[in-house]
Amino acid sequence: MYINKDNQQRYTVGVLVDNEPGVLSRVSGLFFRRGFNIDSLAVGTTHDPEVSRITIVIKGDEQKVEQLVQQLYKLICVQKVQVMQSRNSVERQLLLVKVKADVTAREGLMRLVDIFKAKVLDVTKNSMVLQITGDNDKIDALMGLLEDYGILELVRTGVVALERGDDVMTSDIFD
């Protein structure tokens, strides 16, 4: 968690939901209705094919996030909700970026690829497609540097996160 300019904290929320049509719409609709802006959202099925996991990054104050967690629990499709702390969780996202890369730029870009442990997925005379995984800060840093070369197209998956250690999500009403 960090404090951003508006003095609001950044929260990563993991939500286990029934893997059913319309679930994403129910969850994202709730965020909209309760006045939360979603910074990033990632969704996929889990090892249990009947359960999907949604990871949402939002900004807000503590009371509002608690309210949001309780509202999420009211959705019938929601099984578990967990607000993750950066100190005890790992988070990653994946970025694909198409960047201008003529012959003069290629060398410099390859150095960045090295430093950031990125991968080159495609090269042409004028451009390169790079892949990088990491936390938000790392991805933002690379994007900043790539701007000097000229970003042509960019896509990121959104953050996915898991808690470290053996802890599991609980859905206790006495929380």
Binding site: P21, G22, S25, R26, G29, R33, Q63, E66, Q67, Q70, Q71, Y73, K74, L75, I76, C77, V78, Q79, K80, S171, I173, F174
Partner: protein, 572 residues
């Protein structure tokens, strides 16, 4: 166990019969033809009331649920039939009323093609339903209906919508009738839903977990000098009114109620200070600001009750008991909360609370109760007292506006489910449908009063044909002041007497209207005539209209301006 091969429409009706649904309110159409066909074949086992408009069928199912505590059922066709249900669904949602709404939809082969009378009603109702379903296979239909009923009435109740495409209604599958316990869906223990109203083993677990909080709550009550109980609709839903009164006696505390909580503590009780909030009594609002412990049961701290949230109950520790964890710390920070069913929590709490004496505080709280002059002026509070004198136990429905607040303030409600009113959403046009539903839910068929205004009534008077046709005993009492009174009141107070679009100098003649529908109409302009007309109507037990001619400038008082501390009255 007998198995049957039935189509989806027949399975739906059988599932409604399984749930012991007596009356369905609805309106037919293209996408529910198979359902109406199966209903026709089972007319001896299930009742259907045809309204003039889907909206009022929805409010009727809601009124049925509110008056009886059973789950209401409403049926409508796709497209416009379904969208006409949005207002009743939202109304039921805001007031936690258990209603199952069933809509037909176009066949799945046409879905998503903007076909005739197609509307994405499950998408549209997501924000205003507790849950909703689009049934894509007839094999899932019976279990979906059972789940819908379970969800609608479990935990904090609310509306559930089931959208059934026409091809699912026509497809056949095997149906096995169920009853009793078997109707409760087998939900995973992991589901938060299954924790909402714990039973059996999980109830024992709940008790153990709640213990430390119950001890702390008992401690707070033991230490309090000026305790006050603030009760709401959750007490009615839980059926916790007796436990609530026991707690009030034990803690020697006065009681204030929200609009939805009127009747949980009888108005005849010395402890009851009346409704709190924007149009609350002086006694209730001032007690709120003076108490040192606020025991809030089944309430959600609505802005209409609170006024300025920051200045609300400034000297009090707040103990909040509610089944919905999301209501805790939402609008007001609490010293302690107990999440759970009000009846269960109060029962457990009562075993830990010893008898307290706060005679001085009780007297202080009571001293603010208003006493009105006993004159014969023809004004709203006298009319309501006259109604109560004829039928103190009668169910009273309202629409929304001045007449609603007058009813809340001046009809002395004696028991839960006696007042049927749209609290959260404030739906004008709710009343006639709701009154009809409430009357249909009463096995004894006693008359129900609808107190309405001329503005609200014009939004639903189309249903006069329904109460006339079925002979549903609704006594419509119209407070006709020739204006949208509540809006006019705000225009008077906050908008420099500029009566923009609120004067209703345009009829209709309600007596001719009554005549057109074959109902008895009586117009009165004095208290004696009203008393006679109302007593006659109650005795007759037939639908009728009593029109009361009132002054256009009559206002609802007391009043606290929105967002002000609730003890700073702008009207007395």
């Amino acid at each position: 166990m007998k198995r049957m091969r039935l189509n989806g429409a027949a399975i739906l009706i059988e599932c409604l019969i399984e749930q012991e649904v007596g009356t369905v309110f609805g309106f037919p159409g293209g996408a529910v033809l198979p359902i109406y066909d199966e209903l026709y074949k089972r007319a001896d086992r299930i009742n259907h009331v045809l309204t003039a408009h889907e909206q009022h069928a929805g409010h009727a199912a809601d009124g049925y649920a509110r008056a009886s505590g059973k789950t209401g059922v409403c049926l409508a066709t796709s497209g416009p039939g379904a969208t006409n249900l949005l207002t009743p669904i939202a109304t039921a949602y805001m007031d936690s009323s258990p209603v199952v709404f069933i809509t037909g939809n176009v066949p799945q082969s046409l879905m998503g093609t903007d076909s005739f009378q197609e509307a994405d009603i499950s998408g549209m109702t997501m924000p205003v339903t507790k849950h909703n379903y689009l049934v894509t296979s007839v094999d899932r239909l019976a279990d979906t209906i059972r789940e819908a009923f379970y969800i609608a009435r479990s935990g904090r109740p609310g509306p559930v919508l089931v959208d059934i495409p026409k091809d699912v209604q026509l497809a056949e599958t095997e149906y096995i009738p169920l009853s009793g316990e078997a109707l409760i869906p087998r939900l995973s223990k992991k589901k938060p839903l299954s924790q909402l109203r714990p039973e059996g083993e999980s109830l024992e677990m709940y008790k153990t977990k709640a213990e430390p909080r119950l001890e702390m709550a008992a401690q707070l009550i033991a230490e309090a000098h000026r305790p006050l109980i603030y009760c709401g609709g959750g007490v009615t839903i839980s059926g916790a009114q007796d436990e609530l009164m026991q707690l009030a006696d034990r803690a020697d505390a006065p009681i204030v109620a929200t609009l939805m909580g009127l009747g949980t503590a009888p108005a005849s009780s010395d402890r009851m200070l009346g409704m709190l909030g924007m149009h609350g009594t002086h006694a209730a609002n001032i007690a709120m600001q003076r108490c040192d412990l606020l025991i809030a049961v089944g309430v959600r701290f609505s802005d209409r009750a609170l006024g300025d949230a920051k200045a609300f109950a400034p000297n009090a520790k707040v103990l909040h008991i509610d089944i919905d964890r999301a209501e805790i710390n939402k609008n007001v920070s609490t010293a302690l909360h107990i999440t759970g069913d009000a009846k269960t929590v109060l029962e457990l709490l009562l075993t830990r609370v010893s008898q307290k004496q706060h005679a001085q505080w009780m007297q202080q709280a009571r001293s603010m109760m208003e006493d009105y002059l006993n004159d014969e002026l023809f004004e709203p509070r006298k009319i309501l007292k006259a109604m109560a004198a004829v039928a103190p136990e009668m169910t009273v429905a309202t629409d929304v506006g001045q007449h609603q607040m007058w009813t809340a303030q001046h009809f002395p409600f004696l028991h839960t489910r006696q007042l049927i009113t749209s609290g959260g959403l404030g739906t004008m046009g709710f009343g006639l449908g709701a009154a009809m539903g409430a009357a249909k839910s009463d096995p004894q068929g006693r008359p129900v009063a609808l107190v309405t205004g001329d503005g609200s009534f014009r939004m639903n008077l189309t249903e006069l044909s329904t109460i006339a046709y079925y002979g549903i005993p609704v006594i419509v009492v119209i407070f006709n002041n020739g204006t949208l009174g509540m809006v006019r009141q705000w225009q008077t107070l906050f908008f420099g007497h500029r009566y923009s679009q609120t004067t209703l100098d345009r009829g209709p003649d309600f007596m001719k209207l009554a005549d057109a529908y074959g109902l008895t109409g009586t117009r009165v302009d004095n208290l004696a005539d009203f008393r006679a007309a109302f007593a006659r109507a109650y005795e007759a037990g037939r639908p009728c209209i009593i029109e009361c001619l009132l002054d256009i400038d009559e206002m609802v008082a007391p009043m606290v301006a929105p967002g002000s501390p609730i003890d700073s009255f702008c009207l007395n």
